[in-house]
């Protein structure tokens, strides 16, 4: 369950929590309130940590399992924050036939996280994405705005090491 619970400590501010409370208050009692409240919560916090989901469940007086069910159903809800360095591994058709799966595997092994996940120190987050329009460079990964193309799995380690040193 890569997307089930973040390893990063919750860092919501009282201001963010107050904004969420206002959103909940505005939607309370309405049928189908879960979706818009979770969307707003993700906008406020950047992701949906457990603490926030509990606030939503208690605020709307619905079971936590229902909130988590919705949050884990839709791929645009994230249960993890984004890292300082956001890694996107392209799994588009061209990259895929050029071995993107083994690139993804190399990143997963190196950082010990899965797509949708984040390292406990909050430095790296990992996502699998579809075509980024650089098929000529396949297989491609992006780290924030940097593009790395024509990769082989053994190049992944040294690239990530560079960012680890920068931190």
């Amino acid at each position: 369950m890569p997307n089930c619970k973040t390893a990063v400590p919750y860092a919501g501010t009282p201001e963010q929590e107050e904004r969420l409370r206002q959103v909940i208050e505005a939607h309370k009692g309405q049928p189908g309130a879960t979706m818009p409240v979770l969307q707003a919560a993700q906008e406020i916090f950047g992701y949906l940590p457990e603490e926030v989901q509990i606030m939503v469940a208690e605020g709307l007086d619905i079971p936590l399992s229902e909130v988590y069910g919705v949050a884990s159903f839709y791929s645009f809800f994230s249960l993890n924050p984004k890292g300082k360095y956001r890694i996107s591994v392209c799994l588009g058709t061209a990259c895929y036939v050029k071995g993107a799966a083994s690139i993804l595997n190399a990143v997963e092994t190196k950082l010990n996280i899965q797509p949708g996940g984040i390292t406990p120190d909050g430095v790296f987050s990992l996502d699998a994405c579809r075509c980024i329009g650089a098929c000529g460079l396949a297989p491609v990964i992006m780290i924030n705005d940097d593009v790395y193309g024509r990769l082989t799995p053994d190049q992944v380690g040294p690239i990530l090491d560079k960012y680890m040193e920068k931190k």
Partner: protein, 584 residues
């Protein structure tokens, strides 16, 4: 007003049913059984599994009969080649993701899915999935989940949310990864599960079952150093027979006692006796609260599922909870004090077993506040009705042919008041019988309190007792308890005494009771039929008020002293504390 009737034909049979009926309901009146899987009337009506599809003339595709409403002049076919082919294919696909260890599965012969496969004529597994491995999650004291057998019908999640308003389980993720679990895929033991076990009786497969304690009990029975005693709960005697094919509502008390004796228990007592003590203590507590301005409404504490719900969701009502232990725990406490002393046995050498309609009782026996001053836990193992049936079958007994026997009298004579504990409203009526008699005398006080009987979700009644009008409320199913508690909190509802049972209908419909298919559960009033058997037994009893029981008189006179007195408090009462809802 008479409901409007709708005329339609099903398989060319004309039927007339009330407007708002579904095709599946209408088919029943035409004598046609449409197979179904995810459908559980009033609880899970989502038309998701597509097993119940039928052809409707003029419709573009097959329709799910369980949710499709009838219309005037509708023409339905339930048994065409197209329908049969679709149902069979759907079933094959469901089975392709179901781990089939049928011969060793806990459900085995009682499996609804297996029966459905037979009914649909599945004669080969075309899409085998040999990669499925067991995924047992056994963190909770009462329940084991194995998602490798789950068919995602959602009956468990629906009953948890709709009937119990707890909703600790739901469907997580999507597509092929969809699975039933707690929020954040936590262990059930870390959730706010109340242990009621309603999910188990809702499940059509072996994905859910109780934590099996039969091996522990068999080991105790074989241990020569242990004195093993047993007591069944009130409702078990009117449900156990169903496990052996007897009609719902058959009272098998005598046969059950014989079976327990033949299994080798040293003493066969009755938890009904424990219930009589609960009434003595609870009735006394209620009268004291009434006269001394104690916290009201007083709320019963017999149902451990309800108690846990209160601790987690409504901790502000803990002062309202009666401090009485449940009948099971009072029974165990008396076995390991009064009986031990009388029989000259060290309480530590006694192994006390209870037979319960309930899975929450497995959790209750392990609760630390129940521990006695002598260091013992009152009850060592709680078996469900189903587990007892298993032991009886494994011992080779022809249950329906067993002669009747009687309980060992020391803790085995009970009253009609304790028998009705097994139905919603029973505890309230039993308490009122004794409370009224204490105020008005046995000869003048009313004996039957019909207003609190029946399977209605929430029942209210007002009784005029000398110098006091008592307003009572009875609710079963935690969703109904929630309605009442919110009403009391807002001041909208005012009562002196409330009875809550976690399971809808009370213990007769508990999570440890015999299993029936959704079809049987949807179209029969199991709770009413089982409860009727309890009220019948009560009506024929010599003593119908708890304080008239010879055991109760003897134990208070020679051992406990006064109800609500010091010794009674030490043995038969406990206190509850708020519990965290989420363990983050």
């Amino acid at each position: 007003m008479e409901p409007k009737m709708i005329n339609l034909t099903i398989d060319n049979i004309p039927v007339s049913v009330p407007a708002g009926s579904t095709v599946l309901e209408a088919a029943v009146s035409a004598g046609i059984k449409i197979p179904s899987l995810c459908y559980l009337k009033g609880i899970n009506e989502i038309g998701a599994c597509r097993i119940c599809v039928v052809e409707v003339k003029g419709a573009r595709s097959l329709m799910a009969a369980c949710v499709y409403p009838v219309n005037e002049g509708m023409v339905v076919y339930t048994n065409t080649p197209k329908v049969r082919h679709s149902r069979k294919l759907t079933m094959e696909l469901i089975l392709s993701n179901h781990r089939m260890d049928c011969l060793t599965c806990n459900r085995n012969a009682h499996c609804e899915l297996r029966q459905l496969a037979a009914d649909l004529g599945i004669d080969a597994i075309r899409y085998a999935n040999d990669d499925l491995r067991p995924q047992e999650e056994a963190s909770a004291l009462h329940l084991v989940r194995d998602n490798s057998k789950c068919v995602l019908c959602r009956r468990c999640t629906a009953v948890c949310r709709v009937r119990q308003s707890v909703g600790v389980i739901g469907c997580n993720e999507r597509g092929f990864r969809t699975h039933v679990g707690c929020a954040f895929d936590r262990d059930l033991a870390e959730s706010d599960c109340v242990s009621c076990g309603q999910c188990i009786v809702a499940c059509p497969t072996g994905a859910l079952h109780e934590q099996d304690s039969t091996a522990d009990v068999m080991n105790a029975l074989l241990d020569p150093t242990k004195h093993v005693v047993v007591g069944p709960a009130p409702s078990v005697r009117v449900t156990l027979g169903e496990c052996f094919g007897m009609p719902v509502g058959t009272n098998v008390e005598g046969k059950m006692v014989t079976a327990l004796k033949r299994l080798g228990f040293d003493k066969v007592f009755d938890v009904d006796t424990g219930a009589d003590f609960t009434i003595m203590e609870e009735g006394t507590e209620f009268l004291q609260r009434l006269s001394s301005g104690g916290t009201l409404p007083m709320i019963t504490s017999c149902s451990p599922g309800w108690v846990r719900f209160c601790e987690q969701h409504y901790p502000e009502f803990i002062p309202n909870l009666s401090t009485c232990k449940s009948p099971q725990q009072m029974f165990g406490a008396l076995v390991k004090s009064y009986y031990a002393e009388k029989a000259g046995i060290d309480p530590k050498d006694i192994y006390c077993v209870s037979i319960m309609p309930c899975t929450a009782k497995k959790y209750e026996v392990k609760r630390e506040e129940q521990r006695m001053a002598n260091g013992c836990m009152p009850v060592d193992a709680a078996l469900t009705t189903r587990e007892l049936a298993k032991l009886i079958t494994q011992a080779g007994m022809l249950f329906e042919k067993l002669p009747d026997s009687e309980f060992d009298p020391i803790l085995g004579i009970s009253t009609g008041a304790s028998v009705i504990f097994g139905a919603t409203g029973g505890v309230m009526e039993a308490a009122l019988r004794t409370v009224a008699a204490k105020m008005m005398g046995d000869d003048n006080a009313p004996l039957e309190f019909h207003e609190v009987r029946g399977i209605k979700d929430i029942k209210e009644a007002t009784y005029e007792l000398p110098g006091k009008t008592v307003k009572v409320c009875v609710a079963s199913g935690l969703a109904n308890a929630k309605i009442v508690l919110d009403g009391v909190k807002s001041g909208e509802m005012q009562y002196d005494f409330i009875e809550f049972m976690a399971c809808p209908g009370g213990c007769v419909n508990g999570g440890g009771q015999p299993l029936h298919s959704a079809y049987v559960r949807s179209f029969n009033d199991l709770r009413g039929m089982r409860a009727a058997a309890l009220y019948n037994q009560d009506a024929g009893m010599e003593h119908r008020r708890s304080h008239q029981s010879p055991v109760v008189k003897e134990v208070y006179e020679t051992y406990l002293g006064e109800p609500g007195g010091h010794k009674a408090h030490e043995l038969l009462h406990c206190t509850y504390v708020p519990q965290k809802r989420y363990r983050t």
